[in-house]
Symmetry: C2
Subunit: 76 residues, 2 copies
């Protein structure tokens, strides 16, 4: 079973990588970019028996830093 | 308008960060994890007039390294 875990910075947390992208895009001549935030996309291949609770524990213990990051799990 | 750009390593490209996650999860006692790959999730806030072609150009010129990475744009 394939899981997609989106890890994003919480609103208000400074994102220098996002700011760099914003400036680089405007430097390359792309107008209309009003904001950029960078997160992680973790694709896990797990056995069928793995439960939602287990995936949640993986996120909280290793994959996301819940002090500054949110995560969202997508199945399939 | 909000865009989500998923940047993932092409199949076959070595992913040490994914391997580290795989080993760490098994070290933490999570069974059933058969693979992990790590990519980037870039959230762009763009003006309404920005076209698909322009977004595609942003990805090819800056956001993804198309030699080793695939990208997928999601609107909304």
């Amino acid at each position: 079973m394939k899981l997609r875990i989106h890890v994003t910075l919480k609103p208000g947390v400074l994102d220098p990588q996002g700011k760099a992208i914003e400036h680089a895009l405007s430097g390359l001549g792309f107008a209309g970019v009003e904001g950029a935030r960078v997160g992680k996309l973790i694709e896990l291949e797990v056995a069928e028996g793995v439960t939602d609770d287990q995936v949640d524990a993986m996120c909280r213990q290793l994959l996301a830093n819940t002090v500054i990051e949110n995560y969202r799990v997508e199945r399939g």
